[in-house]
């Protein structure tokens, strides 16, 4: 009887052990989380738009394709679409004197060339383009200055800003 009781107790312990094992059962499964990050856009003012010497009362134009035309170099994710806009000065200034600048012309190309791309009119209105396969885009800028006849002599300057985003 004593032996039987011990056996019963042992069996009960085993049974409780089995129950505990049931309580502990668990499984798991996994998935991945994924993301693709595009290259950040970088815009560099590569070359200033330089009118050189101008004379009072004489209009002067620099074409975007001229050696002294302005140029911005943009880099980013290859083949990615972008929007861009310009912030353009209405005057070049010198010591409070204004030299009007207007009639903007431009050209956009995936390559650093003023052929094989697209002529644009730089403005503050947002427009679209596409980075090249290699992730480059070049903007060429030209404009016309109209010096008044009484324009004081001096060195005039202004800032042209190009904003590009995905």
């Amino acid at each position: 009887m004593y032996t039987a009781s011990k056996a019963a107790l042992a069996t009960l312990v085993l049974a409780l052990g089995a129950t505990a094992a049931v309580r502990a059962q668990g499984v798991n499964g996994s998935i991945t989380a994924t993301a693709t990050v595009q290259s950040p856009i970088a815009v560099a003012g590569a070359q200033p738009l330089a009118f050189g010497n101008v004379f009072p009362g004489v209009v002067k134009t620099v074409a975007y394709s001229d050696p002294t035309g302005g140029r911005f170099d943009v880099t980013g994710q290859g083949n990615a679409g972008v929007t861009y806009s310009f912030n353009l000065p209405t005057n070049l200034t010198s010591l409070g004197n204004n030299l009007p600048i207007g009639s903007w012309t431009g050209y956009v190309n995936g390559a650093n060339s003023t052929s094989g791309g697209l002529a644009i009119t730089p403005s503050s209105t947002s427009a679209s383009s596409t980075l090249s396969v290699g992730g480059t885009l070049y903007f060429f800028v030209g404009a016309t200055v109209t010096p008044p006849a009484n324009l004081p002599a001096g060195s005039y300057s202004g800032t042209v800003t190009l904003t590009v985003s995905y």
Partner: protein, 154 residues
């Protein structure tokens, strides 16, 4: 002998509920996909987004309860070991007994959550989250592993 018989009865009582029960299962069905990200701009995926949310299907004894817990990465890992921070918040996970993405009970994936299997012993867990690329985030593909742990209480 009477005590021995009693012990066998107890043993049978403890073990028999396992017989014929649907086994616990967790199956990863769909990855959590953030898609294309722009450096500096956070991107959130809703748990109700059928195309991007992560999904696990779970199975267990019909009408029984289980507890789910996530093992969540704090970052995705990308090129040259670059990391992309992830954020999971209060209602980014959801459970659907009917396995319908449009019929979920939201819960916090950072906390254990009690689920009830359907009458057929099934259910689905959906997961959203937010990726937070830095302004200087390195370009490339990033991945991470999300694990769902399921424990049942018979």
């Amino acid at each position: 002998m009477r005590a021995l018989r009693y012990a066998f009865v107890l043993t049978a009582t403890a073990v028999l509920p396992l017989a014929g029960q649907r086994p616990l299962t967790v199956t990863g069905i769909q990855s959590l996909t953030f898609g294309t990200l722009i450096p500096g701009i956070p991107s959130a995926v809703s748990r109700t987004d059928a195309g991007k949310s992560g999904r696990f299907d779970v199975g267990g004894p019909h009408d029984a309860q289980g507890q789910v817990t996530f093992t969540l990465p704090s970052v995705l890992t990308g090129p040259a070991g670059a990391t992309l921070p992830l954020l999971f918040s209060g209602s980014d996970a959801g459970y659907s007994q009917s396995q319908n993405i449009g019929s979920q009970i939201g819960f916090d994936p950072r906390q254990p959550f009690l689920i009830t299997f359907s009458g057929q012993g099934r259910g689905s867990v959906f997961l959203g989250g937010t990726a937070q690329p830095a302004p200087t985030q390195r370009a490339g593909s990033y991945t991470g592993m999300i694990t769902l742990n399921l424990t049942a209480f018979p």
